[in-house]
Symmetry: C2
């Protein structure tokens, strides 16, 4: 850790939601190594769908997993956002220069961005003033193919390093699963309007009691809109959506400003 | 349940993140009862800080807690967002006309909106096309004072019923804790820029092992800005922020469109 403080290399914080042993995270370490000193703080187990959850009622443990020349890896018992908060507040000797989350096994395009622990880690970095990126591939399997990420993630990070991101904005980058010679390029997109439907299977347990298990299909509300991330991915592009931490609807402010409110007392 | 299907009253889904027994939820039931038939689906235990988390790897149980003339209450073992999804997908006979979440014990102003299970429930309703509102009071105690909510929540719901909300927008309504005769009014606001800092206490357990526990102070980055929710609340107003489910930064799109990307292969 002392080496990291003394060195003038960029300090890059990595996290994810698939857990500290995920192939995506270790692929990301290899990709990012040439760009600076790396500290990983990631959940010890998979935490998909944890969104921006934080652990309030339980203590969190942190374990150092690996330390070598320019990579330090910690696991923690908390969520992805807990991991980022602990890194910033307790583990790192200084504020990291960049935060990179992923590589997520599975898509975080469209509305999935809102459920994703991987993107929540990036958003948590962003709201702490750290330029942050989340990388995801459209392959949910443990042994997902990260070739396209290997080819392009460095270039995307280089752009962030050289050009800065707008304040309060991080990047949601999703990669299609196609051979690299079929890739048509990179598109800057907006988040597709869509929703998950038919979301639960009703089942009966061995004791004849009912339970429900999450499942579901994604419904794209605007499959013809060519400026969306889903369209880009379906058409062999890497999709980059700039994501903001300000959730205010400024159009909404104008619309509801003239409402009339009365107390019933 | 059959009565609810046959009746022509609005069907109003309630949820929260403080759990099915919280005073805030039962106060909300009393407030909303005159406006329609109520179905509550809420976590069986407190789930503060669960944000938009969903339960993927475990089954969820649902229990009917109460049924009377126009109120049905279910608890579930999942998160606030699980509760809303189960209500829409499995429990309700038709899509609810409105979703109201809360009353949260504690503020969901500024960046807290992003960690809040109460607001996540409202956002989940919103992205399913249901006009949705989250109510919170700036009092974290179990026995919080909900007088101001009793006086104004009905009027806010009435406005939503009569005027509609812009598509993809829900309301984040926070109430100050002041006597009703000190209230200056209601302000439509934007989300204050701010962050939580000094977030963990490092402690040593009885076995001499280290652990961390979440704590922290809120830092307001713009305490003089009079159009923010934090300013409104500090100055004796009820704060309403319209919240959108589209996280795209459209300014960000313009800024990063001209970046230059190169494969390293």
């Amino acid at each position: 850790m002392m080496n990291i403080v003394k060195k003038k290399n960029p300090l890059i914080l990595l996290s994810n939601d698939d857990g500290v042993n995920a192939k995506g995270l270790h692929t990301l370490i290899d990709i990012i190594k040439p760009f600076g000193d790396i500290v990983v703080v990631a959940p010890e187990k998979g935490q998909s769908g944890q969104s921006h959850a934080i652990t309030i009622d339980l203590p969190i443990r942190v374990t150092k997993v690996l330390e070598n020349d320019n990579v330090l890896i910690y696991s923690c018992t908390g969520t992805p956002v807990d991991s980022v908060k602990l890194a910033i507040n307790q583990i790192l000797p200084r504020k990291p220069d960049f935060l990179i989350s992923g590589i997520n096994h599975g898509s975080n395009a469209s509305i999935s961005v809102i459920y994703s622990g991987t993107m929540a880690a990036a958003i948590e970095g962003c709201l702490n003033g750290i330029p942050s990126i989340g990388f995801s591939v459209l392959d949910h399997s443990d042994n997902a193919d990260f070739s396209l990420v290997k080819a392009y993630a460095g270039s995307i990070l280089k752009n962030v390093m050289e050009n800065d991101l707008p304040a309060g904005t991080c990047l949601n980058v999703n990669f299609p699963v196609i051979p690299i010679d079929k890739l048509k390029g990179i598109r800057i997109c907006r988040q597709t309007r869509g929703v998950w439907k038919q979301e639960y299977e009703r089942r009966i347990d061995p004791h004849n009691d009912e339970y429900f298990w999450l499942t579901g299909d994604f419904h794209n509300f605007e499959s013809d809109a060519k400026d969306t991330d889903e369209w880009a991915l379906a058409n062999k592009y890497i999709a980059i959506v700039p994501i903001q931490v300000d959730l205010t609807s400024y159009e909404g402010i104008k619309k509801i400003r003239d409402w009339n409110y009365e107390s019933n007392i």
